[in-house]
Structure formats: structure tokens, C-alpha cells
Symmetry: C2
Subunit: 391 residues, 2 copies
């Protein structure tokens, strides 16, 4: 073997072991050795190097009376974090997320406007505040943007809800925070979080739809790989047509899922504020069943059925085109589905729909923080030593 | 290196060289050496082995007065063929296709019915007839089926236009012909042909839509890989919704592209028979322009615009979800697009549509023969010696 090959192998082993710990959590060195399929001595070297890089710790094995060498438990280092930033129409979310998708801190800062300078300034100030007096070791910053982000340079092409167009957000944020930064579409990052740690874990062909204040987004995993498309804009299920010639959409077209099925309509129907969107599901279910001595709300039932029918058009199209194993719904789309007695995949082609399962997302409000941090972790996991040592 | 690794490397080199010749055509040994990046002596061994397997030939180099060793031209062997079979609603197409996607023979056999036994019997008889007295070396048989075919065992789950359900077609055809056989959805095979040799060549993110007598099918290439979905049924763009609550479709749902935009309607509008579908494009264009001293046909113009508008809904959805570099249209969908003054991607999200090009398919009626043969060539190319020697 050439030394190049040895070096490749070493890098790959570091990557595989750290990725396994990131995805599956702490385990004994003996288990790691078995699962990754390395020799005991090679694994000892890999773990020692990861400890040296400050990425994992290994507990001293307890003394046992049994035979064989006891094996220490290898864990992800708790002080290693990524910053996660998610600008929305009315607020900026900022968080610290550890390896393994562990959310350490998460705040929502209301913003007077969505000007780029305002948002970047608020985010940078919040990050400084979060890190003041904190011993965390920050490895980078991930941005979840509600809009189209170009792969490669992290330029926001369009984020219509923020009023952004052609914004070099990665450059701006790097300048303001001094942190290495990456950006991607928020919905695809939420999907990455669910795909790695939540309702889509282990699913090789997955469709994900998320609905929130900023509309409907989505993403897909195809044959185990994130669907990006030619330039990184794939997965805009929110802009698939559910009613040709229907409501005018932010994107300029008409009848898009996002224009026809929106959170504000549902919130208004049950008298909730945007800040209470998290209670939408329970509120819908209770009103449709009839609360206390109230009658079931039949007008609401009609609205829910109509919107669920429109959602079903988008879901059916996604199923027929992508033949996924699972559809994961998040945000108000999950609330809508839970409240509506509609089979979202009932109209898909028979042999395609038989294998598909519709599920609610599992990670709740932390999806986007976890997903944004994945941008940093993806870089680290690909080459842990190279990332940290710049090698 | 272990001998396992050496064996892997040898197999990979055979595969790479034969694949290059299959995709790009004949070239000198010197060019092959450069393009594949092997040493001259390794390439000499690879070419010798491919010659030994009867898969390529090498011409004797012409004597030249110049310096350096002259290099012979390496070509695909002309006698190596795959059988291609494509059952349709009214006929069975049978062909012989050489390596490199070269169609050697192709006949269309009208069939009294689409019973499995009838179709298999006709196909087997035609193959025997084609091969009688022919010195071709047949390596296998590929079936292009207008319906959902399960990857793995080649069972046709549903082919509604043929009236087939749960048909183990690969077993049936293998029994009837004695040839190793593979089957897949016809539209995805047509796309594989266009992707490898036609309008989609070199396009890593591609959407393909084909319209014919058996409806509308499609397929996609995602990040350079064929989109299959979890079970092999992906790409059913013909069953995406273009008019919710619209015309009843064979699939059981309503408003599918295939139910709303069909070849028969267009043929009837211009007075053509199904057998003359190839003339549809010219006929539409001439009538819309006004032929001789006829006025332009304004009723036809209305129909064409309506159908193109419905096609645009499906195309817009595909573009917004898959962010392709190119959309390739084939069959009557290409004729429709050429005749209609409609921008099929005009309503897609701005940053997504800017990079996309809409093209007509390039391989014409041989698409399906070439695509069906690709099923055999994919097996051969992955491991040429193993395929032929059963090793």
C-alpha cells in the first residue's frame, strides 16, 4: 500500500467511527469494534486519535470479576458544539447544538424587520451572548434559510418571505461572527434532522413536507442520498400545483400547495395566534370532536377536509413520482393530517402506495436547530482531523 | 494487496473500458489508455482479455513513417447482441440491439390480444425467426413493460393498459426463450436510452416524459443515478394530477396527466390513425399555421393550448421538486410542445427554472429497443468476465 492509501484509510476510519457515534450514540469500544468491523488494535488507535482531537471521551472501564479485558464506553465530547441560525418572518432562532443532534441552547429573538443587516446583527449578538462565559468549543455555524440557497457558495437566491434576493448570507455571517459558516434551505435541513435522528431514521427513500408561518417546504431522500437537484433547489413541494388557476402564490405562479394550504387560515379558524401554532393540532382535534357541551364544529370540519384534500394532491404526486417508503409531515401539516379523516395516499397508484407509510415528524421545534447544525457536522464527519487541523 | 483486491481491480478495469466503448464508441488503444487512466501495459492486458471474451476487436494499426508505436483501434464486437421486447396495447415490438445501443433489427408484430400467453408466444416465435441463420451471439433479453415492474424479481405488478396484474414476466419469457431475461418499466428504459445515447447524454439531473398509445410515462436521473424509488416504481409523472377532480384515469384516480392529455384526442383532432402517430407533430404544426389556402385551424389551436397548459402543470411540478438541468419530452408530448406556443417551465420557481432546458428526445422509435437492451448491457458491463463465464 502506498502512504496515500494508508492516510485515506486512517481518515475513513476516523470518519466512520465518529459518524456511528453521532448517529447511534455512545457505545463500548468492543461494540464499536464489532459494528465498524475493524481490528481491536486499529480501533484503539482510532479512538485515541478522536480523544486527542477532543471529539470523544472514553470512560474508565469498571473493574469486573469476569474474564477478558473490560471495555470503556466511548462518548461524544459534550463541549463540542455548532451554532444554528434560522431567520423567519418574525424572529431569528439561534441555538447551540452538540454532536449527536443534542440541542444545548435555543432562543427565539423577535426582529423588527427582515433586512439582511438586521438579521445578521441580531444573530451575531445572540451568538456572542450565548458563548459569553461558556466553555463550549464552537466548530462552525449552520444557517437554515426559508428559500432557495445555491449549493457551493451559500448565496440565497430567493427567500420571498424574508424579502431576500441574491444575498451572500454565508459571507455576511462569517464576517459578523468569525465562524466558518454554511447555509441551506430550511425545509431540507429539517428533513436531514428527521432523516438522521427522527421519524425518517433509516429510511432510504423519504419524502418530507413541513408547514409553518413561512409557508410549505420539503425535501426528499432518494436511495439514501439527499435530493439536491442540479443547483440545490430540489424539494419545493410547497410550489407544486394543487389547484390549477388557484390562489396567487409568492413565487409568482398560482395554485401552489403553499398558497392554497396555509397555517394562517387554520389558526384563524380556531382563534389562535401565530405564536401558539404549536397548539394547533390539539385545538383542531378537540373542536372537531366537540368540547365539553359544545357541538362538533362542522364549518371547521369542512375547512379541514378541504385543506387535507389539497394536501393529498401534493402527497399523491410525490408518492407517484418518488415511490418513497415513508412520507413525514411536520408543523401544521402534521396537525392537519391528524385532524382530518383523509387517506393522503389513497389515490396514488396501487402498487406504489402499498409500501408507503405516512408519519408525523418526531423532533418538534428543534428540527431546524438540529438540521442547521448538520451542515457543520457533515463537514466535520467527512474528515474529522482535516476539519480541525486544516489538513 | 491481497489477491481479492487484484481480482476486484481487474474486474473494475474490464468494466470501465467496456463501459467507455459502449457509451462513447470506438477509439484507439492510446486514447483509451489516456481516458481511463491506466498504464499502457495494464490496458494491453484489459483489451486482450476483452478480445478473448469476444466483446471487442482491435484493428491492426496502419504502418506509419512517424515515431512511436502505432496504436490499433478498439471497437465493440458487432456480433454481440441483446434481444429487446416491448409489448404494447396493439402489438409486440421485438428487436436485436448491439453494444453501443446499435439497433440491428426491429419488427412490430400485431397481436390479437394482450393475454400474457399470446404476447410471450409471439415474442418467442419472433426471436427464433430473427435468430434463424443469424450468427449473432445473444447475451440476454430485456423487456420494456408499460406498467409497474418490481425491481429484483421482474414481476409486473400492474400494467393496466395490457390488463396485466402480478405477472412473473421474466420467468415466463426465460422459459419460452431460454434466454436470461430482465424487465423494467418502459418509460424508464426509454429514459435510460436517451440518458445514455440521446438528448439526456451527460445530464446528471434529468426529467423524462414520454407519451404514446399506452398513456404517459416518465423517469428521472438524480445526481447521475436512475431514480427508482423504494421498489422500482418511481417516475410515474403520467399519474401526477393536472386537474383535480378531472377525467377518470386507468389507475383509479382522477385528473392524472395521462387521463387529461392523451394521444388519441390529438390524433382524432387531426384525423390520423394510431399507426400514423409519428406524423402527429408535422400535422399539428401545418394545420396550426394554415396549409395551402386553408385558414389556420383555430379549434385545434385551442385544444393544443389547453393540453399544453395541462402538460405545463406536470412539468412545473417536476421542475420544482427535482431541480433538473433538462426535461426531455418524447412521443406525442414532444409533438404537442413543438406545436404549442407555451413556456412549459414559465411558472416554476424563478431560481429553479433558470437553469432548465426543455428538449425533444433524440432517439425516435428505437428508444425502447435501445432501453430494453440496456437491462442486459448493465449486467454485462458491471462484470464482463463474470457475466460471460458465470464466475
Amino acid at each position: 500500500m502506498t502512504s496515500q492509501t494508508t492516510e485515506d484509510l486512517r481518515r475513513r476510519n476516523l470518519s466512520r467511527v465518529l459518524t456511528l457515534l453521532h448517529e447511534e450514540g455512545a457505545r463500548s469500544r468492543a461494540e464499536l469494534t464489532r459494528e465498524v468491523g475493524l481490528s481491536r488494535s486499529t480501533m484503539a488507535g482510532v479512538v485515541a486519535e478522536l480523544i486527542g482531537l477532543g471529539l470523544v471521551t472514553e470512560s474508565t472501564p469498571a473493574l469486573t470479576g469476569g474474564a477478558g479485558r473490560p471495555s470503556g464506553v466511548v462518548r461524544l465530547a459534550e463541549d463540542v458544539v455548532a451554532v444554528a441560525v434560522n431567520p423567519e418572518v418574525d424572529a431569528v432562532h439561534v441555538g447551540l447544538v452538540g454532536l449527536g443532534g443534542r440541542v444545548v441552547k435555543h432562543v427565539r429573538i423577535e426582529t423588527p424587520d427582515t433586512e439582511v443587516a438586521t438579521v445578521v446583527g441580531l444573530a451575531a449578538a445572540t451568538v456572542r451572548g450565548m458563548l459569553a462565559g461558556d466553555s463550549a468549543r464552537v466548530l462552525g455555524l449552520g444557517l437554515a434559510i426559508p428559500g432557495q440557497v445555491r449549493i457551493g457558495d451559500g448565496v440565497v437566491r430567493q427567500a420571498t418571505h424574508l424579502g431576500w434576493s441574491e444575498v451572500p448570507i454565508v459571507d455576511e455571517v462569517t464576517k459578523a461572527t468569525g465562524l466558518r459558516s454554511w447555509a441551506a434551505n430550511a425545509a431540507t435541513l429539517a428533513m436531514r434532522a428527521e432523516s438522521r435522528f427522527g421519524a425518517g431514521k433509516g429510511v432510504a427513500d423519504l419524502v418530507y413536507l413541513i408547514g409553518g408561518a413561512s409557508g410549505v417546504g420539503g425535501g426528499a431522500v432518494v436511495a439514501g442520498q439527499l435530493l439536491t437537484g442540479a443547483a440545490g433547489y430540489a424539494g419545493e413541494f410547497g410550489h407544486t400545483v394543487v389547484r390549477p388557476g388557484g390562489a396567487r402564490c409568492h413565487c409568482g405562479a398560482a395554485g401552489c400547495l403553499e398558497a392554497e394550504v396555509d397555517q394562517a387560515t387554520l389558526l384563524a379558524a380556531v382563534g389562535l395566534d401565530a405564536a401558539d401554532a404549536g397548539r394547533l393540532g390539539r385545538e383542531l382535534t378537540e373542536r372537531l370532536a366537540g368540547r365539553g357541551d359544545e357541538d362538533p364544529d362542522s364549518a371547521l370540519a369542512g375547512l379541514v377536509e378541504e385543506l387535507a384534500g389539497l394536501l393529498a394532491v401534493a402527497v399523491r404526486n410525490a408518492v407517484n413520482v418518488l415511490n418513497p417508503q415513508a412520507i413525514v409531515l411536520s408543523g401544521f401539516l402534521a396537525a392537519l393530517r391528524d385532524a382530518a379523516p383523509v387517506d393522503l395516499v389513497g389515490d396514488a397508484v396501487a402498487s406504489i402506495r402499498e409500501g408507503v407509510e405516512v408519519r408525523d415528524a418526531a423532533l418538534g421545534e428543534e428540527q431546524l436547530m438540529i438540521g442547521a447544525a448538520e451542515l457543520v457536522w457533515a463537514e466535520l464527519l467527512a474528515d474529522p482531523a482535516g476539519f480541525l487541523l486544516g489538513g
